[in-house]
Amino acid sequence: MSNLLHFSEHTLQEIALVFMATIYFLRVRWLLKWTAAKERQPATGMGDTNPKKGSRYSLANILMPWVMESTRTKPLMYLQFVLFHLGVVASIGLSFIIPYAPGLLKSTTVQGILQFCIGAAFVVGIMRIIRRVSNVYVRAISSPDDYFSLILLTAWFGFAFYSVPNDASQGEGILLTYFFVTAFFLMYVPFSKISHYLYYPMTRHYLGKTLGRRGVFPLRRSPAYGNK
């Protein structure tokens, strides 16, 4: 292993991680400084709903595509969402496995799982780029960050896919690129739309808590309206 590859796998990643962690720490501290508004609306609704249940439901509904309009009506979009985010998890995991637990990659099963997740995410990334460029509606609403983040992630998946075997015998180019892109990615994330996942749990918790208190969650779809 060259010094440069060692640097990119360790020092560079550590710097990038510390940078990202610092920014996130500041953000989370800022987020936690917010105190929830006093809820003066009296608790309403049926007895089997409360703020805790509302919060749990709201947090879990990401796993229940049938309860959200956006996913119930477009199941393929939900599948894309799942594959894409599994790919993110696998690619990030890989950046830790290679330097700290390379032995895991001797297993062809582990390699297969990682490559499946990352490869599928790459395909979804390509589909999303095509959609963002070709769909007139999505193009109309897209910002430079939307394109850049998506292209960055998709390219990153591509390099991650080929880095899974952790084999530098044919040259270190792919691994080097993967780790440099990972470092850039870690530093760019806090300033881009990709940081949406940081807010997601908080918004779901507060929304669910509030609506649980008001007796809205869990939402049951009443069959009583519509034509009889």
Partner: protein, 498 residues
């Protein structure tokens, strides 16, 4: 009738092609300086408006954390792009909810995010300019705050809240909507949106009493300012004014009469609606809402019931406690407040009201769920009762009822096209176009079931549809209230089983 080309009625809701700037010239009139001053906003745009704007933006972001989160969390996935009736009607991409939000988001990035400060336009950040402000004034008044897009947003971003924040910001630098602020001013000074003084309201009530007497030979009273009554009934002032609103007023009165209820209206709180919500201003919303609770205290009532008005119900149901609560002076056995539909259906279920359904046999009825009732509040005991209760009432008083397509009713209902402070003549063009999705759904049931009565529980929807129906070649008389149908069918005098 203004010359406006209404979309063709085909029964199909087709997502239009993007037509950039298609509705850029449809603007609300700016409020004059005197009016701005009356409602405690700067009379005009100050010389240092940019500094003030950024400062006020910061205040809003700190005050309404949700707005900040909504601005941060959007990933522009596109789920909302074809959900807004104004986009479907005009094709202007600025009416895609996410792209309308971007008007605010770009400015937010510029002044309040590190990425925006560092990368500027590369980070999709934009300085606030006169031109951008003009776009804000245009497109944030082309949002009816109906929240249909929020139903489809995977993050639940509440576009209405962003619109409200934008309007509040515009007001704070002297750029207000004449229509909305005039109404706010009237509601705060005269007690109702139409600016009707107490004697004029009494005159209307007398007219309704006489009309009922003439038609049914029964003395149904519409009391006002009766101290010690059990119920304070609050309804939109449109109900005191014209068809098809006034017919529902007769319906409410007949229900109360038949129930033997002790009820009253208030000349001081003669408005259920609250345009403070439309302009996103907490203080105005609180002041208008406070009149109702002050009247309830002074008249020493035990409960408050709200008439057919979507946003009135939202403010009273969802915000009253936070604005002016608690209401421990009221009888705790009753929900505070109660919707007239809850009240009527309860009486029906207890057998206290009798109907002659054939009185409505000339009508084939469909029902339009109003946004604020459908997506911002609820009724009854179980989630979804806000959809079932009005329908149960209609089915009780009519023989012929049919629902429109499932993806256009319930929590996916389309806005009438005139809600959220857009019900003003200068916006009639976009109101007609914004009504298109609802009109297409209506066309389908008209074709299949000969629907000729469009039942509503919202004053704004009633006013909007009576205005836009003729543009689509439909008789405005087909618009009516749920309690208009109740009024037609109720049998007065046969009291049983209360």
């Amino acid at each position: 009738m203004a010359k406006i080309e209404a979309p063709e009625l085909t029964g199909k809701i087709i997502t239009p092609k993007v037509k950039t700037g298609a509705s850029k010239d449809l603007k609300v009139f700016l409020a004059k300086p005197e009016l701005m001053t009356k409602v405690s906003f700067p009379s005009e745009k100050p010389a240092d408006w940019k500094e003030k704007f950024i400062e006020n933006f910061g205040v809003i972001l700190n005050k309404y954390k949700s707005v900040r989160v909504f601005l941060d969390i959007c990933v522009r996935c596109g789920a909302c792009t074809d959900k807004c009736h104004f986009y479907l009607g005009t094709g202007d991409p600025r009416n895609m909810p996410v792209y309308r939000q971007e008007l605010m988001r770009t400015v937010y990035r510029k002044y309040f995010t590190t990425g925006g400060k560092l990368f500027g336009s590369l980070g999709a950040a934009q300085e606030i300019t006169d031109e951008l402000l003009d776009e804000w004034m245009t497109y944030f008044y082309q949002c009816s705050e109906c929240r249909r897009c929020s139903v489809f947003c995977p993050y639940g971003i509440d576009t209405a809240e962003i619109t409200m924040a934008a309007r509040e910001l515009l007001d704070s630098i002297g750029m207000g909507s004449k229509y909305n602020l005039e109404i706010v001013n009237k509601a705060e000074t005269l007690g109702n949106n139409l600016g009707m003084p107490g004697p004029a309201i009494r005159n209307t009530l007398d007219f309704v009493e006489e009309d009922i007497k003439e038609k049914s030979n029964v003395d149904v009273k519409l009391p006002m300012d009766v101290e010690g009554a059990d119920i304070l009934f609050v309804t939109p002032s449109a109900d005191f004014f014209a068809s098809p609103h006034i017919e529902s007023l007769a319906g409410y009165a007949k229900v109360f009469h038949q129930a033997g209820a002790s009820w009253t209206m208030s000349s001081y709180a003669s408005e259920g609606g609250n345009f403070g919500m439309f302009i996103g201003n907490y203080n105005h919303m609180k002041a208008i809402n406070a009149r109702i609770w002050k009247a309830a205290r002074e008249l020493k009532v035990k409960r408050v019931i709200v008439g057919e008005c979507g946003h009135a119900w939202r403010v009273l149901y969802a915000f009253s406690n936070s604005l002016n609560g608690p209401f421990d002076f009221l009888d705790s056995r009753y929900r505070v407040p109660q919707h007239i539909c809850e009240y009527t259906l309860d009486l029906i279920k207890r057998g206290a009201l009798k109907f002659d359904k054939t009185a409505n046999d000339q009508f084939s009825v469909t029902y339009h769920d109003s946004c604020n009732v459908a997506r911002a509040t609820r009724m009854g005991e179980t989630p979804g009762d806000q959809f079932t209760i009005p329908r149960e009432i209609i089915r009780t008083v009519c023989n012929k009822f049919v629902d429109m397509d499932a993806d256009t009713i319930g929590d996916r209902t389309f806005c009438c096209g005139g809600g959220g402070g857009t019900l003003t003549d200068e916006l009639i063009d976009i109101r007609v176009k914004g009504a298109m999705p609802r009109m297409q759904a209506l066309k389908r049931v008209k074709d299949s079931h000969n629907v000729n009565f469009f039942a509503l529980i919202c004053a704004i929807c009633k006013a909007q549809f009576t205005k836009v129906f003729p543009y689509y070649g439909i008789d405005m008389e087909e618009v009516g209230g749920v309690h208009q149908l109740v009024s037609n069918a109720i049998i007065l005098g046969a009291k049983e089983g209360i």
